[in-house]
Amino acid sequence: MYKYFLRERLRNRNFIFWCLAFPLALMLCFHFVFGNLSTSTEVTTLNMAVIYEGTDSMYNRSFETMVDGLTEEGSNGEEALFKLNDYSKAEEVKEALINNDLDLAFKVYDDKVEVLISKDYSDMDIAVGKAVADTFMNNYDMMATAFEENPQKAMELISNLGENLDFTAAKKSEFAEETPNPYIWYYYSSFVMGICFNAMNGVDMVANLKADAGYHAVRVSVSPQRKLRLIISAYCAYLTIALGINVIQLLIMKFALNVPLGGSILKLVAFVLACNLFALAFGVVCGSIMKGTIDARGNKITAIIMTSVFLSGEMVAQLPGMLERSVPIINDINPATVMNMALFRLAYSTGDFDFYINMIKIVLMAVLFITISVLILRREKYASL
């Protein structure tokens, strides 16, 4: 019987496509597109110019002094923040910004600093430009207040301004890399989607074992084989193929697409096994409970799987985050999200706690559905066949 179920599955083109080829095709698309995206946004030297408008005021001279400081290399050989470009007219600076010859410019007028950026600005250009202009404006404002209210202390303040203290520190990352690539979620989600499609196998198992669901099952039911043995054979055969498919996918992910999968093969095997068992048993239970033809039952389960996969972030990776913020219970009970989270934690986390929490959920769900499925398939009695 094991061989029979194995052959029957391998001849099913639909199953091979949706579980093996479709997730791999998606991953390849992600690889070609996201492979080019960089998540690194480090500060680099920016091309900059300054436009001074109005008279040669104290304000303008102070800004000039500050800019000079920022165009010099650091004492430790750090890159300067700005490379200052000389332009004689404001129109030339604007022209240079339009042509992307400059990253940003400062316009100093009426005791105010305006940041000019090119249309193709990066977020870092704005962050740096705004930080510099704001710091200067605020410090100047504070100095003015100091000279007005307490001139004696003002000189002390000038020396303090040079020693700005840094009160913030990045949290020590719980991940192996400081910042996990957010696009990696799409790969895990596609892999988990392939596993979830195994629920369709569960429906086919019902068609093969439940006598009122298909003519194959009628033949199998009247055979002298014990029902439990048939169920175990079917489970083993379907699981063998599913695991084979997952091994192919994981090898491609690891070696061709460079997707991190963590260092523990044992945990990965346990994860894949538990997920496939759950998906298969879920398909059997739903296929047994639902009404209609086998195709109709399959369509209903596809709708459930796609909803679960969608909520786990297959199409919009931020969706689990939105749910975590507002309705975290959905993430806790959505099977696709739980599987994704377990795989993500397995691949990235330095600790095992979150991985095991998610694994316990998957194993519990798998055990529950397997028990129900065996009870349904084994205990069914028919008045006539």
Partner: protein, 397 residues
Amino acid sequence: MHLFKHFFKLLSRNIKGLIIYGIITVVMVMMLVTTVSNSGSDMVLTAEAKSYNISFVDNDNSPLSRGLIDYLGVNNKVSDYSKKSETEISNIVFFGMTSYHFTIPSGFANDVVNGRTENGIIYQTIDGSNGYVSFELGNRIDSYLNTYRNYLSLGLSENEAINKTKETLIDEAPITVVAENEEDAVVDSREIVIFNVNQYFPYLILGILSLGVGHTVIITNKKELVERNTVSPVPAYMTKFINTVGLLISGIICWALFMAFDFIYGAGTEIMSKYGWIILINSLLSTLCCSAIAALLTNYIETSNTLSMVTNIVGLAMSFFCGVFVPMRFVGEKVLSISKFLPFYWTVLANNMTSSVQSKYAFDMNQVLICFAVELLFVISISTIAIISNSKRIIRA
């Protein structure tokens, strides 16, 4: 006319595929509208409107820490996550739902006054400690705390220093985007929705035509129906012709619905008033092209499952390679050089030029006309292949 009516009767009986794609379209548009209107906004509308979703856990709960949170909340959306677990916070940060999460430790106010930095604010961001979010918000927090210390050193009381600090820092430098045309530097939130709907249009219309309407064409290709039609007084080519016309009309109806949305929702926006006609022609050509692709696929494919497989692969692959799902400027040069041989590339390129602020592709009339010409060539060539393959199948039958 009888066959024509019959086609739409069959379509109404197999409406499931159309409904699924209809739901996908509506969900996509609603998510876009919601994201844009609720955005904090990490989605930049103008450079000046840049703000962040910030979350915090305040273990100090001192006037200073409350003042800091109050100050950060002026231009940003600030949320208190003190009731969330570490894992939940870590997940929310990973998914980018909060740009910057920080925890203020107990006794922080005293440490700031005494200049001790060891027990400082601990932050988490998705872009790491070197990213622009860490840079900008870290700088704002440090500025706030240093300014507060400076005011204290001037002899101001704690409350006076907090108020004065906020007063000083609230005055921010204006940011101006320099562009050739002033309107190129600003983008309305509705324009973001319109632009993105048009960007997704080729993927959606191909799915609607091939999976929604294509199933009906496949049904008419069934052996029993073909045999019944063969003995009827209707010429063999007529059934195929009606199928193609049915596909085309369905496509044009969908196109009209999309355009109605664009013109009603985007009424008065720069993108519709200035480039509305480009969007109209571009999406019409894309509809014709997708109709031709759907006709070609349904010629060769005999089962709904196979049609589903092929359409998904063709639609998703073209969408990924041609910049539908990911902005074209982020797609690698090599991938783009291949995608020039695909029709979606030219549709997306023309659409990109309708909003250069969002796409970073400058408007170029000649380039737009080239896009239209190439799209038209795709329509003609794919239709020709579909007609030839169709006539061969009729002859074989």
